[in-house]
Symmetry: C2
DNA sequence: CGTGCGCTTGATTGAGCTCAACGCGCGTGG
DNA sequence: CCACGCGCGTTGAGCTCAATCAAGCGCACG
């Protein structure tokens, strides 16, 4: 009975070692024993249905979340009600890093499809840093990576034409799927055109027009949300070109 | 003789406790003893002359830097040579956080005026985290704050009109100077109009035109780089207004 | 088999960019 | 001392790219 109970609890818990994302996610580089220690502090998996919030702006910050399955978008809102999508997250990526500074979530996180996350109580994680320096180091890397990512979005939003923005968007998705073992040329968009436009600082109409233009130019093939990137090189050239 | 030597070394070193920025900077919240431990690992002050680089994109990452005196700008460059300024840093703010993930600097840091920084060897800092949990916590807060800051710049670049961008820029400076005990209405710009435009995703001409318009509307007074914010409320209203 | 959301397409508009000229303050050198 | 050049900033005229306004399509779902 006691044993069964233990098994039940275990089966509810996450197992980093068994997760296909552990080479990208928080436990990257840990040995088996260390990974177990991390498993121990991680709460249950949590399912988040399509179009529902994992957390909302202004809520108390208790946990970081690692995306295990599915996709999310994070966005801020003004008092004026204007939204700005600040990122799309896929498996192996962390959610909630922006909340550490104030202990309040600074953005909303909403699932783009039925998804699953690992709940990581931040207080416990900080304690674990003291015992597993490798975990601390990788956590700092992940935070730093988020800073770098946002800087490149700033470059995108500040300096690029609509065409370049869209090309950069596809290339970014391509690279991230590739790192996860998926095709880097054949991808399924989980977000609407509106989401893409909002993220890139464009209107939905502009996105739509650009997509058809890219299609005509044989840069991509697209049907609904299924995209084929026909030439990564030409997409890259679009961005590099001194406009 | 030995004593003199010690004094000399000490005088070359930084002293967080004596620094006017210690309530904002890395040592925030530490007690005297902990602050001394931090002092011990901090390298010498380093002077950086106006228009010279503290570090350049692609250089090896060894140290974080805390701005002690003066102002910096950080910017990325494309292969195409396009620059994008990602931030302006003032005393008490950290430089180099984006380099942790790759051990290479992801951007250039250039002094806008003759400046001074504290050199913080990151390896030693990480060791110290294990001994001073409060330091670790505050460091995480500062990284998280940087993420939040960049997200709000994304909102600015993605959603705002030129007018709103400039208003937001002034209000941001105002708040940061205020936190440092300076006037929140009377400020000296350390950056050129071109820098401002680049940061906000505008041309220098647009910035110039907006400045004269703000002046005509009695929102600000500006002569050269001396700015008076005549109504913080009206500036805020500009941003909040649903365009 | 409507009904609605997500998306596309077209026509027009306008905010901000580009190009161009000029002004001002300041340091340098004759 | 003035002349000159230069970096920084302002101003004007015209243009362009993406936004806005408007209509309609097509797939999914009740």
């Amino acid at each position: 009975m006691k044993i069964n109970k233990t098994i039940d609890i275990q089966s509810l818990k996450t197992h980093c070692a068994a997760c296909s994302m552990h080479h990208l996610c928080l436990p990257m580089g840990l040995n088996a024993q260390e990974m177990e220690r991390l498993d121990d502090i991680i709460g249950k998996r949590r399912k988040v249905a399509r179009n529902t919030a994992l957390y909302r702006m202004g809520e108390d910050f208790k946990n970081l979340y690692a995306v295990r399955l599915g996709h999310f978008k994070t966005f801020q809102t003004n008092r004026g009600g204007t939204e700005q999508i600040t990122g799309f997250q896929m498996p192996g990526e962390l959610l909630g890093l922006d909340a550490i500074s104030t202990d309040l979530h600074q953005c909303h996180a909403v699932a783009l499809e039925d998804s699953e996350v690992c709940e990581i109580p931040f207080v416990l994680l900080q304690n674990l840093f003291l015992e597993i320096p490798g975990l601390q180091r990788h956590f700092h890397r992940m935070m730093s990576q988020e800073i770098t990512r946002e800087q490149s979005v700033m470059l995108l939003l500040g300096n690029m034409s609509a065409e370049q923005k869209l090309a950069a968007f596809f290339l970014n998705l391509s690279a991230r799927y590739n790192a996860r073992g998926y095709s880097d040329t054949n991808l399924h968009l989980r977000m609407t055109r509106e989401d893409i436009g909002n993220y890139l600082g464009l209107t939905i109409e502009s996105v739509s027009r650009l997509l058809t233009r890219f299609k005509q130019q044989r840069l991509i093939d697209i049907k609904q949300r299924e995209v084929d990137l026909l030439s990564l090189d030409r997409l890259k050239a679009l961005i590099t070109t001194p406009l």
